[in-house]
Symmetry: C2
Subunit: 178 residues, 2 copies
Amino acid sequence: MVDRKLILYISCSLDGFIAKPNEDLGFLSIVEKEGEDYGYNKFIKTIDTVIIGRRTYEWVIGQGYDFPHADKELYIITRKKQGNHSNLRFYNGDLETLVRELKSKKGQNIFCDGGSQIVNQLLNKKLFDEMIISIIPVLIGNGIKLFEKGTPEQELQLLSVKKYDSGLVQLHYKMKGK
Amino acid sequence: MVDRKLILYISCSLDGFIAKPNEDLGFLSIVEKEGEDYGYNKFIKTIDTVIIGRRTYEWVIGQGYDFPHADKELYIITRKKQGNHSNLRFYNGDLETLVRELKSKKGQNIFCDGGSQIVNQLLNKKLFDEMIISIIPVLIGNGIKLFEKGTPEQELQLLSVKKYDSGLVQLHYKMKGK
């Protein structure tokens, strides 16, 4: 039985891109709507730990934003050794070990906030328990794919589907066997 | 205004594959269920013409099946010149011309039955009016991608979402501007 779940929560175009070339997320504006957060704040209350790739982390910081999740335990996955600051830990060890350690402790769920490299490493090791994928109603044709080739076969159980007025469809799956 | 619509009706894994390597469609068995055709027969009554790639056509024949749609006008897209037989026409001309000609005639809708090459050629020329995509609850990791890289950006309008007990989700989109 899984106590703390590792959950992918991410959006992509219908053709499976999470960003256009040069990390362009402009296509997300298609579904931007005052007062509609597509369940994000509700989801974020169910997690207390965030795993994110270094490049994605630096991209967010580079946009001039404070990194969100100041009240969460934050793991930035990197190949380089780097120090820790308050709630922020740079982690250059084995992902499987990290997830096992996090799950051995009591806590809320764990949120994987991207990017594609980390998502696919976690898929390769079958470490996700659930995925919540928001499909943006657009084909973008180029950029960074959510699912790279080569990940192992994995049956899924559909937990729910939400359809929004903007055309966004949110699919919530559980990995079978988890 | 579009009178006859060109519609893509296809299924794929959540990671966007329409077949595993070697045209293996075994993953479709996950959602096979006695008496459940996921709306296929209802859809097929709305069309009178089928466009299909030669390789996909030959694959179906090679499985020992009679090709379905004997009561439809069938266009097999091929690079080679070949003859026509009864309702079956081999077509090696320009796809855009074919679609324009079909649409200039009165009739029911036109069904694109794959494969990936034809789908992506039609996407490249923005010839689809609608897409009905059935997402099978599985990641398969390798095989033939539904959406190849390089297709032009295209906003979509979500017409409907259907969720089935098997976990299949059927997304019905209209191409914006059509």
